[in-house]
Amino acid sequence: MRTLLFLLRKEFLQIFRNKLILRLIFVMPVFQLLLLPYAANYEMKNILLSVVDHDHSEYSRKMVDKITASGYFKLVNVSQTYDDALKLIEKDKADLILEIPQNFEKDLIREDQTMVMISANAINGQTAGLAVSYSNSIIRDFINDISAEWIQQPRLNPQPLIEVTSSNWFNPQMNYKYFIVPGVLALLVTLVGFILTSLNIVKEKEAGTIEQLNVTPIKKYQFILGKLIPFWILGMVVLSIGFLVSFLFYGIFPAGSLVVGFLFAGIYLIALLGFGLLTSTFAESQQQAMFVAYFFMMIFVLLGGLFAPIENMPDWAKYLTYINPVGYLIDAMRMLILKGSSFWDLRMHFLIVLGFAVLFNTLAILNYKKTT
């Protein structure tokens, strides 16, 4: 026990001695947490619309007005020809082209049917699909308006109507930041903790100091604990600052228990740091540790559900997410912060992450060899 205290003291001295590293691990996450969530905005409010109106009629204008009044579209330009409009798409100055043919109005009045052409930049298939469906439904509304105006008589047989009411729980204002901030915070803490630990032991290998420790009677578990505890404390501090920033700047306060949140994050950190230390005991050089760390971080992050929901993934990828500690943290943070899930709701998360913590640290202790 006393030996451990000496090791802890040493580790802290080393951490606090390096001011640049300290600045990097505290300032960079805070800075990113303050800025980046503002970038996360999926809302489709400014679909850039270019109109090519060959008809120049009253109804073509009315339809365009209806589309721009919807709030989803921003009319950037009225082009003369389709090719002009296409140029805008090429330059990313427009997302959608609405081409109204000649005789649009005439056909509508005389034939009861007419047509338009909608062309979307579909490189991002998802947003293109949404943009098109928005424009479609506005056009449908437009035709309903016309019908009401032209027929002008009450419907003879009233139709059964299913009234669908939607409500959005846990985030009624649909604030995307509530969703993205906990995820970004989880990621930042993960990056900091993993980078620090994965490079740490191997750095002692490179410097030769580990050999000096290996000829002393310290126990393996003391050595690993001596590494784990300081970085755990550091991680918890970064996390607490992150919580504070989330509260002060985004007004995010956990709907659930703060204690449960810290408890979960605490266990998660033990698991994560254990994995970092394990990486470090395997690595032959810091450079190698770094690339391996980068490899795992990338996969953990991509499959962590921050940018794309796990539910949408194919089965093989879902199975991979079961062994991704980062995914559990992001999910638990969101459940706790937004839904107010209780310890009992999160019991499986707790159990699994605890399992990871035991597994990784045991492996790290076993893999740390006091022999060369």
Partner: protein, 368 residues
Amino acid sequence: MKQLLTFIKKEFHHILRDTRSLLVLLALPIVQLLIFGFAITNEIRNSNIAILDNAKDETTQKIITKIENSKYFDIDRTLTTNNQIEEAFKSGKIKLAVVFQTNFQNVLAHTNKAQVQIIADATDPNQATTLANYANAIIMDYQNDLNETNKPPYTISAEIRMLYNPELKGAYSSVPGVMGMILLLISTMMTSISIVKEKELGTMEILLVSPIKPLMIILSKVVPYFVISLVNIATILLLSVFVLGMPIQGSLFLLIVVTVLYLICALSLGILISTVTESQLAAMLLSLLGLMLPVVMLSGYAFPIANMPVVLQALSNIVPAKWYIILVKSVMIKGLGLSAIWNEVLILTAMTIFFLFVSLKRFKIRLQ
């Protein structure tokens, strides 16, 4: 020149001897691209939902069957009371709950109006909106079936063209993003770390007192990683075309030229990082922690730049990946030529020159 070759050889030996690192460097782009190409999707499939059917009549049963048959939803559980809804959400199992009022069929038949409530887990607002819209559409579809005879007499049909990506494949937007991210992160990390490593181990001093020019030392460090990155580019392009089914609409040569330009830009950034750090840890923190999220979030890959606040739109301009992603989309997917992209090419070139200029200045200061 001969010395340079000797040095480059030495660096290659270092890299080739470390098989684990090499494996990571070469396998990572493949893994990442496959994950992006096949796993990361915002397409809704089989989302778990709960049903609370307070009516349990023929009509609600028909609607429920319709919901169940859609590819979007899996009915995870059937609830019996309102209180269970919150419970189901909190345990994190379901994303949406559909609640039918009591006596649904009778009410609908007699008053022509019955209620369905859709409750979405808006933790992820984007997902919630999409799911609610899909559920709504299914119910509306059912209603339209009921009202088959009463269609409005006028129609405007829309002829829809999905430009560049008629099948709406996800890869079209993810591949350029992945290329921008992988090349930048790997190249920056590799160069900054390999240079800082010599500083940390004290071998840099030895190199600096040798008769070789400092520029040559740096160059010899960068060349091997440049070669590795070229291999990565080849892998990414081959995978994109043959596995993910991406076209190369424009000139392959132009695509390679802009990619090499981007690569040089990333390597220069790595050199810059190496001149401002003294330890591998600091270099790693800067090039991974400092770049990863900003690149993902500000490059226009994950979120549209047009939606961002002005400050972030301005900030996105200094992210090299943003310009490269535009370039890849323009050349690879839109098939545009040099005349349409010279602006982005110029910006990336300017960035590269800036990085190298600052590095060189800092390097000289160190030497004095």
